[in-house]
């Protein structure tokens, strides 16, 4: 086993464990902080894949924006600082069943795919991943339309969020 594999196993285990803590911890802020740990673990997995840009974006967007948004939402909606209610209702087993089913389905599907058991070729050193991404997003032969549509989608998200918040007033 190489050092990188060992690191991956440790990070994967910690990520899964913090994911479990997100759904089981009784305090909502703690759950949000465990979520941050989970997201950070995913960022480390990206760095192990040599996807540095994606890892940094993961931290900027998910920890810097989405986790903060979650914490704000929890703090705004709760009546007390320390909410100690149960995190799961009586239907938790149905959720667990769906999760297990999804995992089994994905596992079954991926087993048939040849790339699943193959080690991907290492990225050559000096490979300009961000530049390639930039080319793909801007060249007319690439993903120009999805790039612009992403902007429209985000605009729609913003308008939707503003509409919802505005109506509540």
């Amino acid at each position: 086993m190489t050092g990188e594999q060992l690191l991956f196993l440790i990070v994967g285990a910690v990520t899964l464990l913090s994911g479990l803590m997100v759904v089981t911890s009784r305090n909502l802020i703690h759950a949000a902080l465990w979520l941050v740990a989970t997201l950070f673990g995913v960022a480390i997995v990206y760095t192990l894949l040599n996807a540095g840009f994606i890892a940094v974006v993961q931290v900027v967007v998910y920890i810097g924006a989405i986790a903060i948004l979650f914490i704000f939402a929890v703090m705004l909606t709760r009546k007390e600082m320390r909410d100690q209610g149960a995190q799961a209702n009586s239907n938790w087993w149905a959720g667990a069943l769906v999760a297990a089913g999804t995992f089994a389905g994905l596992f079954f599907l991926l087993q048939g795919w040849s790339g699943f058991s193959k080690t991907a070729a290492a990225i050559p050193s000096g490979y300009d991943a961000i530049g390639q991404l930039g080319d793909a997003l801007t060249s007319p032969a690439g993903y120009v339309l999805p790039f612009e549509v992403a902007s429209v989608l985000l605009l729609a998200a913003l308008v939707g969020a503003v509409y919802l918040a505005f109506n509540k007033k």
Partner: protein, 397 residues
Amino acid sequence: MNFWNDPLKVAADWLMGIFTGWGMNAVAAQVLVAFLGVLMLITILMVLDIFLVWIERKVVARFQDRIGPNRVGPFGLIQPFADIIKLIIKEDTTPADADKVVYNIAPLLSMMSVLILWAVVPLAPVILGVDLNAGILFIIAAGSIGTLSIIMAGWSSNNKFSVIGAFRQVAVMVSFEIPMLATLLIPTIFSGSMGMNAIIQGQSIWYVLLSPLAALIFLIAAIAELGRAPFDLAEGESELVSGYNIEYSGMKFGMFYAGELLHAFTFGGFWSILFFGGYRFFGLELVSPFLAIAVILFKAMVGYWVIMWVKYTMMRIRIDQMLAFNWKFLTPVAFVLVMVTALMNALLRGAPGWLFVSGMILSNIIVAWAALEIVRSVSKKERERIEGPKRVVEAHH
């Protein structure tokens, strides 16, 4: 190759020789050498941080027409060490209702979010730290962790003031992240890379000359990110006493305080890297890496001094003013500037150097002037709406 030309490589090779000589495996030895290098850099930073306390106190004293610390040691140089001894032997109180674990992690994360910034700082052409290809975004990513530490500190203290302070501070930090991201796009456009070293290497002409407005917006956003005056409404001594860190004492408070100072110095450094050529100074950096380090530290110190100058000159603004300033003025201006810069960069490609520079400066001046004119006319309208149209003063009496 000798020590004078490439000290880091020479030292690393020497250590590698020792460790492998002990029969250590090559990869483990390499990791150990890297670990020692990081440990050394961070230790130096912490020592520097101690002197930043002295510098900050001396500078604020001069701004306020005082002398500042001058009793302990020559020029009061020993003062920060006395401060540290005081912080260490202070009782570390924890509020009874605090969330102990989160409360204790927050100061660690706060300091860490500043220290990791130095991972991407190129100190000299041969001492690059880590030349990440997403180096610029790493600043924002580290800032995200800082934001998180503040909200953790504020929430876990279980104190009204600290929660309000944390909310305000986080609102400031996230809001000003947008103009900061937008201005980070501008050095990226000029250099064609997000790596810190490529940005420095691209600055045969300092980017501040190509885009002075971007440098200014970056400085404003950085000051807000630091939570310094005029954006220090998280502290708000008169209302919130100290904001998110109100319940912290002893060394835990010291971590927040030292983190703030080092953060300001670090952002002075990033300002110089992105817009003032980093370690480059008329070829001095090629003479020796030690001179390059001296150049970048000097530039960072100048940036830090500007940040202090702003802090001790400006009044604190209210949160509504701060958010309006960011979202209604700074963000639109920053994005317009990005568009104009991208367009000018494409139009002036291949133009001679003087034309490129003057075209860029001119476009910056036009954007700044137009923005100020629009703000002036809007605020005039607003004033008239509130006060009624200006009456003509009659001159009979």
